[in-house]
C-alpha cells in the first residue's frame, strides 16, 4: 500500500512536470512549423509570464494579473517577430536561430535588471502551501489540479483553434505549404507574427500556473527550454499534439529517474532520452519523416 501510493505520487508529479514541458514543446512547434526557426528564447516566455504576473498581482486580483501577464507576453512575442524575424527575410535559418539565442540572453538580463535575482512566486490559486487533496491515497496540492486543468484547456483550445477556425486553418496551411498558402491569399508574415504571439501566450500561461510551486527566477528559462525541446523532438517536431505526448513522457521519465537516482541526474536523464531518440528515431515517436518539409538550412 505504501509503495503504491508512493508510485502514484511520483506518477502525479511526473504528469505535472510533463504538462509544463508539453506546453513548452507546443510553443516550439508553433514557431518551428510557421517559420522553421528553433526558438531558443521559448523558456524565457515562461519566466516573463511568471515575473509579470507576480508584479501585477501586487496591484490587481490574481485572475486579472494572470490575464494581463499572458496578454503582455503575447505582445512581446509578436513584437519580437515584427522587430527581427519579419525584417530579416534574406538571412539563413542559422542566423535566425542565433538571433533567438541572443534574444534569450537579452531577455534574461533585462529581467535581472528589472526585477532582481530573487526568487519570486505567485500566491497559490486556491488554498496554500500545505493544503492538499487526497487522491487514491496520494496527497496532491490543489495547484497541481490548476496546472493540469489549465494546460488541458489550453491544449484543447489550441487544437480547436488550429482545426476549426479560419485563422487556425490558415496557420496550418502556412506550415504545410507556404507557397500554396500564399497563392490562396494567406498573409504569411502575419501568420508568423501570430505564431510567435500564440507561442509566447501559451508559455506565459504555463509560467503563471507553475509559479506558486516551482517559483519564478530569471534563470529558469533555459532548463525548461531544453526539456521542452526534448519533448518536442520525442513527439516529433511539427506536430503539436504529439508534443503533448512527448512532454508527458519526458515528465514521467524524469519522475522515474528522481525516484531512483540522485537529483543531479534528473536533467541528465532528459538529455540522454533526447540523444537516444535522435539516434534511433530522428523523426520522433509520432512524426513522419518528410525531409522535403524541412527548409534548406
Amino acid at each position: 500500500m505504501q509503495n503504491e501510493s508512493l508510485a502514484l505520487q511520483y506518477l502525479l508529479s511526473g504528469i505535472t512536470k510533463g504538462s509544463i514541458y508539453a506546453v513548452v514543446a507546443i510553443g516550439f512547434n508553433l514557431i518551428y512549423s510557421a517559420t522553421g526557426i528553433i526558438n531558443f528564447a521559448q523558456g524565457e516566455f515562461l519566466m516573463l509570464g511568471g515575473m509579470v504576473a507576480v508584479t501585477l498581482a501586487a496591484y490587481v486580483p490574481l485572475p486579472v494579473a494572470v490575464t494581463g501577464a499572458v496578454a503582455l507576453v503575447a505582445l512581446v512575442g509578436g513584437l519580437l517577430e515584427l522587430a527581427f524575424f519579419r525584417r530579416l527575410r534574406r538571412h539563413s535559418i542559422l542566423h535566425l536561430v542565433i538571433i533567438t539565442m541572443g534574444l534569450s540572453i537579452v531577455i534574461q538580463e533585462t529581467a535581472l535588471h528589472i526585477w532582481d535575482e530573487k526568487v519570486r512566486s505567485l500566491p497559490y490559486f486556491t488554498g496554500n502551501e500545505v493544503s492538499s487533496v487526497r487522491f487514491l491515497g496520494a496527497a496532491i496540492s490543489p495547484q497541481v489540479l490548476w496546472v493540469l486543468g489549465t494546460v488541458a484547456l489550453a491544449v484543447l483550445g489550441l487544437h480547436f483553434f488550429l482545426r476549426y477556425t479560419l485563422t487556425g486553418r490558415a496557420m496550418r496551411a502556412c506550415s504545410s505549404n507556404p507557397e500554396a498558402a500564399m497563392l490562396a491569399g494567406i498573409n504569411i508574415p502575419n501568420m508568423r507574427t501570430l505564431a510567435f504571439g500564440l507561442s509566447a501566450a501559451l508559455g506565459a500561461l504555463a509560467g503563471c500556473v507553475v509559479s506558486p510551486m516551482t517559483m519564478t527566477h530569471y534563470e529558469m528559462g533555459a532548463p525548461l527550454a531544453i526539456k521542452g525541446f526534448a519533448a518536442a523532438i520525442l513527439g516529433g517536431l511539427g506536430n503539436p499534439m504529439a508534443a503533448v505526448a512527448g512532454g508527458l513522457l519526458v515528465g514521467l521519465l524524469e519522475a522515474a529517474s528522481v525516484s531512483c537516482l540522485p537529483a543531479v541526474y534528473n536533467d541528465v536523464s532528459a538529455f540522454v532520452i533526447l540523444l537516444l531518440v535522435i539516434f534511433v528515431r530522428p523523426q520522433g515517436l509520432w512524426g513522419a519523416l518528410a525531409p522535403d518539409r524541412v527548409r534548406e538550412h
Binding site: 536561430v97 539565442m101 541572443g102 534574444l103 540572453i105 531544453i226
Partner: protein
C-alpha cells in the same frame, strides 16, 4: 595575391602582438598583458567555433562546456593526490615513465599527481570521446539538433561540476601547478613569466590560425564550404556531409578543450562558471561578431571584446552586452562588421571588390 595577403597577415599579426606588448610596457600597464593572454586563450575556443559555424553551418552551445571539460580534467588530474593508490601494480611504472610526479600541495603536504603533459593528453582524449558521442547522433540529421544537444550537454556539465566534490563544487579548483612545456617555456601565471606567457599564447594562436587556414584551403575546406552553401548539392557531389560535419565538430571541441587546458595552467585554477550556458552563448556571439566564416576577423574581434569584458568595461551589463551584440551584428551585418570595413578600405585603395566580379561594362 593570396600569398601576398598571407605574408601581409603573417607580418601584421606579430607586429600587432609585439606592438601591444611594447605599448603597454611603455605606458607602464604591463599588468594588462594577463587579461590579454586570457583573451587569446578564449579566442582559441572561438576559432574552433568559427570553423563549425562559418564553414559547416552548425551551431554549438557546448563550447564553454568543452573548455571546462579540458580545464577540469587537467586540474583534477594535476591536483588530486593519487598517493593512495601507490600500492597498486603499475603505478610504479607510470611514475618511472614520468606520467605521475611527486608534488607538494598548498599546505606543503607531499602528494602524487599526474604530470601536466599526461593530464593534457587525458583531457584531449576525453573531449574527443565526448564530442563524438554527442556529435554522432545529432549531426546525422539536418537542421539544428546539434545546438540543442550541446545546450543540454552544457547544462549537465555545469550541474555535475557544481554538484560533485571532486571538482570542488561551486569553488572550482585552484592551485593547479605550472606546466613546463619545453625547457625554458612554462605556462604559468607568475608575474615574472607574464611576457613569456603572452608570447606563448599568441604564438599558439598564430600556429593554430595557420593550421586551420591550410585546412580550409584543402579538399576538406572546399567540401565544408559546399556543405554550408547547399547541403543537398554537396551530398550529390559525393561529399559525406555527416562525416565532415562530425569531424569539424570534434576538431572544434578539441580546440576548446586545448584552450581550457592552457587557460587552467595559466590562471592556476578553473571555476564552474566557465561551463555555464551564458559562456557558451558568448562564444557564439564572438564568432558571429567576427563574421563567422572569417578566421582572422573572428580572432581579432574575440580578443578585443574578451579583453574589454575581462577588464570589466561592461560592468554588470557584461552578458547583456554580448547578447545585444549578437543580435545587432547578425541582423545588421551577418558577415561581420569587419568585412564591410575591409571592402571600404579596398575601395579607398582603388582596388576592385573581389565580391563583385560581374563586370557591368563587359562586352
Amino acid at each position: 595575391m593570396p600569398r601576398l595577403r598571407l605574408l601581409f597577415l603573417l607580418a601584421l599579426f606579430p607586429v600587432m602582438v609585439a606592438g601591444a606588448q611594447l605599448g603597454l610596457r611603455a605606458a607602464g600597464m604591463e599588468y594588462c598583458l594577463t587579461q590579454l593572454t586570457m583573451s587569446v586563450y578564449y579566442a582559441l575556443v572561438v576559432m574552433g567555433l568559427c570553423l563549425l559555424m562559418g564553414y559547416a553551418g552548425q551551431v554549438s552551445l557546448g563550447h564553454g562546456a568543452f573548455f571546462a571539460l579540458g580545464g577540469y580534467t587537467t586540474a583534477v588530474l594535476t591536483t588530486h593526490d593519487f598517493s593512495g593508490i601507490r600500492a597498486c601494480a603499475g603505478v610504479g611504472v607510470l611514475e618511472r615513465a614520468g606520467l605521475l610526479v611527486a608534488q607538494q600541495d598548498l599546505y606543503g603536504q607531499a602528494g602524487l599527481s599526474v604530470a601536466p603533459w599526461a593530464a593534457f593528453a587525458a583531457a584531449m582524449l576525453l573531449t574527443f570521446v565526448v564530442a563524438l558521442l554527442i556529435g554522432y547522433p545529432a549531426l546525422r540529421l539536418r537542421g539544428h539538433y546539434l545546438a540543442m544537444a550541446t545546450l543540454g550537454f552544457t547544462l549537465i556539465v555545469s550541474k555535475l561540476l557544481l554538484g560533485s566534490a571532486l571538482t570542488g563544487s561551486a569553488d572550482g579548483i585552484h592551485g593547479v601547478p605550472e606546466w613546463k612545456l619545453l625547457p625554458g617555456l612554462t605556462v604559468s601565471g607568475r608575474s615574472a613569466l607574464r611576457v613569456q606567457n603572452y608570447y606563448l599564447a599568441c604564438g599558439l594562436a598564430l600556429l593554430l590560425l595557420l593550421g586551420l587556414r591550410n585546412l580550409l584551403r584543402s579538399r576538406v575546406g572546399r567540401a565544408l564550404l559546399a556543405i554550408h552553401d547547399r547541403e543537398t548539392a554537396a551530398n550529390a557531389m559525393g561529399i559525406n556531409t555527416a562525416a565532415y560535419k562530425l569531424k569539424v565538430f570534434v576538431l572544434s571541441a578539441l580546440l576548446a578543450a586545448l584552450a581550457g587546458v592552457f587557460f587552467t595552467h595559466y590562471t592556476g585554477g578553473i571555476a564552474p562558471s566557465e561551463a555555464g550556458a551564458l559562456k557558451s552563448v558568448r562564444y557564439v556571439a564572438l564568432a558571429a561578431a567576427g563574421g563567422m566564416a572569417n578566421l582572422w576577423g573572428v580572432t581579432v574581434m574575440s580578443i578585443a571584446l574578451n579583453y574589454c569584458s575581462l577588464r570589466g568595461w561592461f560592468g554588470s551589463y557584461d552578458n547583456a552586452v554580448f547578447g545585444a551584440l549578437l543580435i545587432l551584428i547578425i541582423s545588421l551585418a551577418p558577415e561581420g562588421p569587419l568585412k564591410p570595413l575591409g571592402l571600404w578600405l579596398r575601395r579607398l585603395a582603388g582596388r576592385p571588390d573581389p565580391e563583385r566580379r560581374t563586370p557591368h561594362g563587359a562586352p
